[in-house]
Subunit: 461 residues, 2 copies
Amino acid sequence: MLDAVLLWIKRNEKNSLADVKTWLAIPSVSTQPDHDQDTRAAAEWAVLNLRTIGLDTQLIETPRHPCVLATTPPALHPPGAPHVLLYGHYDVQPAEPLDQWVSPPFTPTVRDGKLFARGACDDKGQVHCHLAALLAWRQINGQLPCRLTVLLEGEEEIGSSNLMAVVQAHRDLLASARTLIISDVNQFAPGVPALVYGLRGLAGAELRLRGPNTDLHSGMYGGTVRNPANALATLIAGLHDKNGHITIPGFYDDVRPLTALELEQWAALPFSETDYARELGVPELWGEAGFSTLARKWARPTLDVNGLTSGYQGPGGKTVLPAVASAKITMRLVPDQNPQKILDLFAAHVQRLTPSGVTLEVERHGESPPALTPMDSPAMTAAAEALEIGFGKRPVFMREGGSIPVVSWFKDALGLDTVMVGFGLPDDHIHAPNEKLDLDCYCNGIRTAAALYERLAHHLA
Amino acid sequence: MLDAVLLWIKRNEKNSLADVKTWLAIPSVSTQPDHDQDTRAAAEWAVLNLRTIGLDTQLIETPRHPCVLATTPPALHPPGAPHVLLYGHYDVQPAEPLDQWVSPPFTPTVRDGKLFARGACDDKGQVHCHLAALLAWRQINGQLPCRLTVLLEGEEEIGSSNLMAVVQAHRDLLASARTLIISDVNQFAPGVPALVYGLRGLAGAELRLRGPNTDLHSGMYGGTVRNPANALATLIAGLHDKNGHITIPGFYDDVRPLTALELEQWAALPFSETDYARELGVPELWGEAGFSTLARKWARPTLDVNGLTSGYQGPGGKTVLPAVASAKITMRLVPDQNPQKILDLFAAHVQRLTPSGVTLEVERHGESPPALTPMDSPAMTAAAEALEIGFGKRPVFMREGGSIPVVSWFKDALGLDTVMVGFGLPDDHIHAPNEKLDLDCYCNGIRTAAALYERLAHHLA
């Protein structure tokens, strides 16, 4: 039966692609209020799509962007089939800076075998692999291999602040699932499919230093008052030492060391620092001293400035001493760091680092705990087999540097372990201009998803 | 005769104010190409105004914004009267950030006895004091007390790059002047008129640090490459030591020490650090250790960030590792620092400070030498008397922290010393939101200008 499903998928690739393009064309940028209507439209698109597959589907209102909740009616799965929960998100990151996109971010465009659009990889494109696979099962088999619940949210990129209320309101349904499936991660490399068993967490904040009550003439006043932009530079520079270690006292206290097995497996992965640096266009790699590049990206915490704003930013010069300077900062956290505790340590430290003559404001932006899941559960076994069917190769086990907060939340709220099976590649430019998904990855992703529900039905039976 | 002129000025204050408002309403922002037509319109406004006074006036084209050159025909001054040159500028700084203006920058508005508009003080408002005084002389006396040439430019705020070509082309006319008058400075304080005998110079540059070839996801890549925004903070922080001294090797080599007379005069000025800090809204003053606040603003060099730009600057957060981070920086220089030499030292030093893993670009923005002029020339004596007539108080001698590059250029090109007689106040917010000129200062400025030409005719005879 799976073979017939995979054949149907192959024959319907063009239709699938046309379908995902219509979803990607909707600019569901959750952080930008101008796009609130678009974000809702992307949710409604998903409702219609899931109903077409045959799921009982509803739009669930929240204070901001709605969730989509869909579940198989009894006729759509074999009696007694295991219940699986699929989570994804239909919102996307802002597309700015727009002038760096080769084709417009919300005009999905295929070039060189790649589908370019904001959300092509993160996460509408990967969610659509599942939708296309489910449609194939429905068309060929009249029903799905598992009992399935699908939960899509529109606030993943802005902290998922309303998701867990929806989860609690539908707790009985969701908690009856045996496992959680998320496709919001990458393969290790082209031709190296992977299962992700660890994620970094996140703690974000915006710092604002205020000096004079208005922008000042840098000639008339320069030298008499602290310049908030210079002061911000001093503050940020003080957050790392010269070895790239973060200076916040207590920051590393709860970091779990890597196991010998992990170090051994990672060393065996086909990873070239030279290629990686060339791909990113940097003269050399850099990071915390004493750790390999893969360890730094997967298992070491970081502190990165995401944005700087101060004074005059237009063409030419302006001889101004700015009244305000601000920085958006995120820290990536690793097991067993606690985002709330880290933000407290961070806030106290930046206060200590604030030079005299300016005042500091700290606005907390979002937090998400790191996660580690078992590598050897029946669901992971099913996923490994599905990836081998979908991509023709056994997957490796890896961690991811990014954060998927719901992994920890679902574990805490529902006791569910997550299987992270991703179809993206490291060069997909998610959160950046020219986000893309290779068409090969998209098609193999649909194949993997089709196999996954069949393998889960088997291993969880 | 001067009394009659001053009376006419008093009776025509409303007309003068209406006239200057029409000039201020023209958004002549020289650095912004969108405003090129407006900048030209502001020049044409001045041409018409000077022709109304009776001067032979022409618009002189340059590769960017035109100059206005006007000179008295023989019938407009007594035979053999000394020749005086007035320089000013009709261009203005950008008005951004617009949302901080109480009334729109190009809708001149009187509130609480103050005229608010971009350019109200710097420099259209101060130039207009002269225009109104000249009109008064013409109305009352049929001619002016001096032979007069007026040269206005439209590129003062962007480096005056075409001015000196115009000066050279009209060298014979301009070099025959006995002194140069500039009203582009402040009084020391309300009720304390001043003559300015020293100015700081300027050297500006934009730094750009490039890391990866595109913005990266801070989770997937954070920890593996140098973040240009963090690196920029480190670079900028390294430009000062903890005592506020600038770290560029050789930076202070040519700084001329203050004289005992200057230290004594400045100590006697009515200056309250507490009031100054309160007015600026800062918790405390700050600057280079070992120097008084007046010395730091008038006679010590500085290095200030004018603007910072990197990564995501919109609402909310975006977990991006930026590809580029940039800073606009200006240094204020003092006698006898050379801007070209300082920019060379700066460029070499920022290159040394650039962390590995990112590449630096330095774009030079503009430079202007510092200036010191003699305190006891006949022209300075005339100006001191004129200020006493205009404001009812003997002026003090002071320096200014700002830069007026033409002061040095006119000295070098034409051998002319400059008399800097200003009508503004330190709280006029030039280059910042809510720029203003007190109406008292404006009216006393017209009176001073009227007296100045009469006193110059006397002392230069």
